[in-house]
Structure formats: structure tokens, C-alpha cells
């Protein structure tokens, strides 16, 4: 049986892992390669790195860091932030990442999804989206896509955007709820389920994970294929083996030997 994936997210700021709430008040948590190696040893199923400095300041992604991570872990990882072109995607994959995640770039230039999928394969093009709950006629799903660290509203309906991205060739969608992000009060179930029900590709829930039960809920109720976690493990409050044990006890299919 295909198991549900647990994906630690490492936000990178000047080659350090940081954690903030809603992209604010970032505190330094450590070295990306050290943290990645630790989570790999502890049995995480995949990793994701967001180069938030690159994204916020139009700088290129830190390729040296991608290379160092690729040498340290033997599981798939995705990289997002600072990707401006097909060349950038290609460089990140050649450095050893399994996937690239595009967000703002895809909103500005949706054709990049199709170009990436054609040149590099759909399976390595992830669409990251940051939807926020709204009550606007142009967003019939009730969620609007934001970009640039939630600062800009785009007028795009979240569900329409997800379907369009898949039509263009996105192989996976990360649904990062703006409202739940950093709250550790649970994933946004309705939003995640709505996307998971309506696209044929895997959907990754992100934002709000604070304990193992939140993961059980998003896997069972929202049918997410994977979940991104950050604060709950970065603080040391929970470990990946503990979370996996609880998930297995709750009957969620999970990888337990590594």
C-alpha cells in the first residue's frame, strides 16, 4: 500500500534554517545540511527547502546548499524560492534535487509549468500555492491565491488555478494555507480536501500541523497524499519516529522501517 509521506520543511534564510509565523519574525534554527541529515536519519519520507531570501529579494537559489544536501541524504527533496526560469529549474535538479517548486513565478508566467514539464518531466514540477479564505465573486471556491509571502492577492481562484496548473503539467500540488500557516492549530481540512478531490495528481497539505492527530485528520479526512511539517519538529517538541508511531497506531499507512 502506498504510504503517506511526512515532509519536513526547511525555510532557508542566508543558508540557515529559520522559522517564522506568516513569513514574519524569523528565528534561526540551524544549518540546513545538519537538520536535513537528522530528519533523514529519523525517517522522514522526503524534504522540502524554501529559499526565502532568494524569493523575497529576487536572488538565485543557493545551488551549493542543494549540492550539499544531495550529498547528505538519499531520499527525494524539493527546492523552491528564487526560481526565475527553466535554466534555474534545470540547475537545481542537476545539483541533486528531485523536484522544483514554483509559486509566484507560475502565477506571473503559467507557461513556465508547461516548459518545465516538457523539458524535465511532470513528476519534478511541483506547484506551490498559498491560498487564503476570501468572500469574493471572482473566487467561487472561497479561496484566493496570494504570492510573495502572502503579501499580494492575485484575484486567482485557488481551485481553478490548481486545475490549470495540472493541465499545464504540474505533477504535484502543495496547498499551503495562509490562514493556518504557523498557527499549529491543524491543517485546513476543507481547502485541502477540495483540491485533493479535484485534481488527478498528488496533493501535499501544508500549514498548521502541530501534533500527530492533525496529520491523521488531514490524511483521513482531506485525503492528502503527504503533509509538510515544520515548527512541531523544529522546536524538538515532537520527533518524526514519535509522529510516525502515532500515525501507524491510528491506522494511517506509514513507512516505519528505514
Amino acid at each position: 500500500m502506498l504510504t503517506k509521506r511526512i515532509i519536513p520543511c526547511l525555510d532557508i534564510h542566508d543558508r540557515k534554517v529559520t522559522k517564522g509565523v506568516k513569513f514574519q519574525n524569523n528565528i534561526v534554527l540551524g544549518d540546513p545540511v545538519e537538520l536535513a541529515s537528522r530528519y533523514y536519519e529519523e525517517g522522514c519520507d522526503e524534504l522540502v527547502f524554501y529559499d526565502i531570501t532568494a524569493s523575497a529579494h529576487d536572488r538565485p537559489t543557493d545551488i551549493e546548499m542543494v549540492r550539499d544536501v544531495a550529498r547528505a541524504v538519499r531520499i527525494p527533496f524539493a527546492v523552491g524560492g528564487g526560481i526565475a526560469s527553466l535554466d534555474d529549474m534545470s540547475r537545481i535538479l542537476l545539483a541533486g534535487a528531485e523536484k522544483v517548486s514554483v509559486n509566484s513565478l507560475a502565477v506571473r508566467n503559467p507557461a513556465i509549468i508547461a516548459e518545465g514539464a516538457k523539458a524535465l518531466g511532470s513528476q519534478c514540477i511541483v506547484l506551490g500555492m498559498d491560498p487564503v479564505a476570501v468572500n469574493k465573486p471572482e473566487c467561487p471556491s472561497g479561496y484566493e491565491i496570494t504570492v510573495r509571502g502572502f503579501r499580494e492577492h492575485t484575484g486567482l481562484d485557488a481551485l481553478e488555478w490548481a486545475k490549470k496548473a495540472v493541465d499545464l503539467g504540474a505533477g504535484e500540488i502543495v496547498v499551503n494555507s495562509v490562514d493556518a500557516d504557523g498557527t499549529r492549530q491543524g491543517f485546513e481540512i476543507d481547502l485541502t480536501r477540495m483540491i485533493a478531490e479535484n485534481v488527478p495528481v498528488p496533493v501535499v497539505a501544508s500549514g498548521g500541523g502541530g501534533c500527530a492527530q492533525h496529520l491523521v485528520d488531514v490524511f483521513e479526512q482531506a485525503h492528502a497524499d503527504a503533509a509538510i511539517i515544520a515548527g512541531m519538529i523544529h522546536t524538538g517538541e515532537f520527533t518524526i519516529p514519535d509522529i510516525k508511531r502515532e500515525l501507524a497506531e491510528a491506522g494511517v499507512p506509514i513507512r516505519q522501517k528505514w
Binding site: T3, Y40, R74, Q123, P200, V201, P202, A226, K257
Partner: protein, 205 residues
């Protein structure tokens, strides 16, 4: 020398790094002569079967592959490398493949809308028969899969391991003579994947 065949079908960085981690020398090559001269051959692949076969034909690699397998040289197929080792694939409106293994490659057609295509993630492999490739790997261990098509061997005796997804129990590890092939990516499957690659490097078929 271990040759890793580079036929421009996807990114070989992970395969190269996996062998580096194991401390095993392996040469990435697109030259049929280097492949013929190798003691072992790794045949990876990511992408579409049609483009992969076109690239292999352009490089005149198919005869070299048939030659090494015919001489009982240990040969490891991975993902699309595994798929094009069959007779044909349903991908790209039907592609004639190398035909080292009897059977075809089929598309997942799930009836449950939550069974996504591609299958992406860690799934268990049930070991059907003992094989040196499984040394030190517990039955039903998980490996990392990313694929929309799956192998359907015509000869059940080739099936070394099976995996369940989208309503089918498909052959995820296939073996015949000196050829062994996995649908999953051992190079991205953590410690157990490394163990499988190490087993391959020690295997004397």
C-alpha cells in the same frame, strides 16, 4: 568497472551520488563500447518510454545492452530503464522496446479518484522469491516510486517482487538471468535502497 548508461533520459545525479555514498566506482557513459567493456551495467531512466527508446537508438545503445545481457553481465534496470527492457509499452500511443523481458508496460487506470497518477511515494515490496538482491532487506520494506506506467511480465517466473497500487498488484522487481530490474528508485530509497544497490554490486549471477 560499473557503467551507468547515460542516454539523456533524465537526471543521473542521484544515481551517481548513491554509488559515491557506497564508495563504489561507477562511470557514467553514453558510449556503447564502454558499456560492452563493463563488468556491471546500471540502466536508469526517468521520463517517457518513447523519448527513451529514441535516445537509445540515436546512441546505438540497444545492441550493446543486448550484448551485455546475452553475456550474463550483471545488469540493473531502474524505473524507465526497467520499462524499456520489456517488449512494448502503452506509453506515447505504443512504443516498441528492447524486449529483454517478456511482457508489456501498462498505464495505471484507477477507479478511486484518490489513487493519484503518477504513483508518487514509498510503497511496500513483497518478495515473491529469495534473490541475492534482497539480502539484508526485510520482506515488505518500502521503496520510493514515481511512475504512471507499470511492468506486466508475460512470464510469472520473472517476478521477484510485487507492489499494490491503484487496484493492481504489479511486478515491482523483475529478474531473469543476469538481469534484475526495479520499478522503484533504489538511489532515492534511503538506507534500504543503498543496500539493494550494494547487493547488486556484489551479485555473481
Amino acid at each position: 568497472m560499473i557503467a551507468i548508461i547515460d542516454y539523456r533520459a533524465g537526471n543521473l545525479t542521484s544515481v551517481r551520488l548513491a554509488f559515491e555514498t557506497l564508495g563504489i566506482d561507477a562511470e557514467i557513459t553514453d558510449e556503447p563500447a564502454r558499456v560492452r567493456a563493463a563488468d556491471r551495467v546500471v540502466f536508469p531512466g526517468v521520463g517517457a518510454a518513447g523519448a527513451s527508446m529514441a535516445a537509445l537508438n540515436n546512441l546505438e545503445m540497444v545492441d550493446a545492452i543486448r550484448d551485455v545481457v546475452g553475456r550474463n553481465v550483471p545488469f540493473l534496470g531502474i524505473c524507465v530503464g526497467t520499462q524499456v527492457a520489456f517488449e512494448r509499452s502503452e506509453e506515447d500511443d505504443g512504443v516498441e522496446c528492447i524486449g529483454l523481458l517478456p511482457g508489456t508496460v501498462k498505464l495505471f487506470r484507477p477507479s478511486d479518484r484518490f489513487d493519484k497518477v503518477p504513483q508518487m511515494g514509498w510503497n511496500g515490496v513483497t518478495q515473491c522469491v529469495p534473490h541475492p538482491i534482497f539480502d539484508g532487506i526485510e520482506d515488505n520494506s518500502e521503496f520510493y516510486f514515481v511512475h504512471s506506467y507499470y511492468p506486466a511480465p508475460a512470464d510469472e517466473s520473472c517476478v521477484l517482487g510485487r507492489t499494490d497500487y491503484a487496484g493492481v498488484s504489479f511486478a515491482s522487481v523483475i529478474g531473469k538471468g543476469s538481469l534484475v530490474a526495479t520499478q522503484f528508485h533504489p538511489e532515492k530509497s534511503g538506507r534500504l535502497g543503498l543496500r539493494l544497490l550494494d547487493n547488486f554490486c556484489k551479485w555473481e549471477p
